[in-house]
Symmetry: C2
Subunit: 272 residues, 2 copies
């Protein structure tokens, strides 16, 4: 704590041979900070001002996304809405994208915690039945304004990519695991995984961009019809409907709707 190299500010004392000329309070540029601290300081509580500022900017971004779409938002918009100084913004995030990703990182952490809790609870209680695709469509329908803003036509490529990557890393491992003891599938597992996620996201954006002409239940059904063969391909055999459902509802995908729940309900939904 008293290590000089952990300080973020220092005093420069300017002297001549006879006098102290001045004392300057100087902020050390972040690039010169060691940075090792972060690992050991997870438990140290954050400065109130920091969390307050970050929360304000986060909220501002979310409401602005709904209002005018991510792409057209300028940093200045965020500053005005959050009522935060320009230099403050850049003290926290390199740019607009980093702010957005930071929000998602936050949510990911929350989601993983929730998922862990769910996973733990299964060991004692009975298995919860969750059809995550259906729940995802339902939730999207209920909060289509925000979803459309972040995943619709004119915005959100970045978020879609992020989601894609995220779902991929979540799915690839268990799917590979399930496939381990079987003969090599007709379609490589990575391709199947990629395809499943692409299909889900493309159905979702189609739905949003076309004013949601079908119910969430119907969309879920459509998803099943269109992807059943991909899943067959992944597992080298036909699957009974029940079996498919058990996979779709299983860990770790089962909690993805929880991810969206967190995103929508507790963090940023302005039309509620």
């Amino acid at each position: 704590m008293n290590n000089v190299f952990d300080k973020k500010y220092l005093y420069l004392i300017v002297v001549s041979t006879t006098n102290v000329l001045s004392i300057v309070h100087y902020r050390i540029k972040p690039m010169f900070l060691s940075g090792r601290k972060r690992k050991f300081m997870t438990k140290k509580k954050e400065d109130r001002r920091i969390s307050r500022t970050r929360r304000l900017m986060h909220e501002a971004l979310m409401t602005l996304i709904v209002e005018k779409g991510y792409e057209t938002i300028t940093v200045q918009d965020i500053l005005d809405r959050a009522d935060v100084g320009r230099s403050t913004f850049y003290a926290h995030y390199r740019d607009k994208d980093e702010l957005l990703l930071s929000s998602f990182e936050l949510l990911r952490t929350l989601f993983e915690q929730q998922q862990q809790a769910l996973f733990d609870s299964r060991r004692t209680g009975k298995e919860p039945e969750v059809n995550f695709v259906l729940e995802l469509f339902r939730h999207t329908g209920q909060h289509h304004k925000l979803y459309k803003a972040i995943a619709g036509k004119q915005s959100g490529e970045m978020i879609l990519k992020y989601l894609h990557r995220y779902l991929y890393t979540m799915l690839i491992e268990p799917l590979t695991e399930l496939n381990r003891n079987k003969k090599s599938p007709p379609v490589p597992i990575e391709v199947t995984t990629h395809h499943l996620i692409s299909t889900l996201l493309s159905l979702m954006t189609w739905w949003l961009d076309n004013k949601m002409p079908y119910s969430a239940e119907r969309m879920d059904e459509i998803f099943r019809i269109l992807t059943a063969p991909a899943i067959e391909a992944a597992f080298s055999r036909k699957m009974e409907k029940k079996e498919y459902e058990s996979i779709a509802g299983e860990h770790p995908t089962g909690g993805v709707n929880a991810f969206y729940s967190l995103f929508i309900d507790s963090v940023c939904c302005p039309d509620k």
Copy 2:
């Protein structure tokens, strides 16, 4: 022709009560031009300078896309490469995007002509067998540099959307037609069409982004395995392989590789 309202320039004669003070050669702003002309002037040959300038800018854009990706290109880059004045650029296109789309519009016209020729030739000769998906993958593989630049990870969302829209309008009509006399399919035909195209494009980008680990033939096979059920769904019944192929190779999709041929070979390929 002698209609004053067709002129693009006019002379302003500035006078006082006693003198002619000056004569100004004034260019009428495009927004005030009637614009009706275009329809009737398709046959009128274009000013050499116009086609030359457009060609230069078009070529500049294409080589730059390969070099550094669409997103990072500035208008100035294009001007430098094409050796064209700034105001000239804006006299032709509103912005960078419009230039890009204009290239595609141009290609679409060429493609449609070629398609028409192909269609006509069928009436007399025998049916050509074309598997457009396979040809597409092959061509992509051969010219992956350009394809990756325009459709890969870090760029080309816009082009993918354009391609999507384009393929959609090409496919939706014949697919609907094929479905007319059958009972209503389990999946709406618009959704199926959208899904087929999404799958093709997402497989394509995956392939490009992952250094093309499989052969074009394999990718074509994968595409079939993954989408066979979607096509089943569209036609409410199982399809024999032969039947599927005949649809995939049929008008109007059969010529899509020609579209890519034109794009790659005759217009813009710098690494050839």
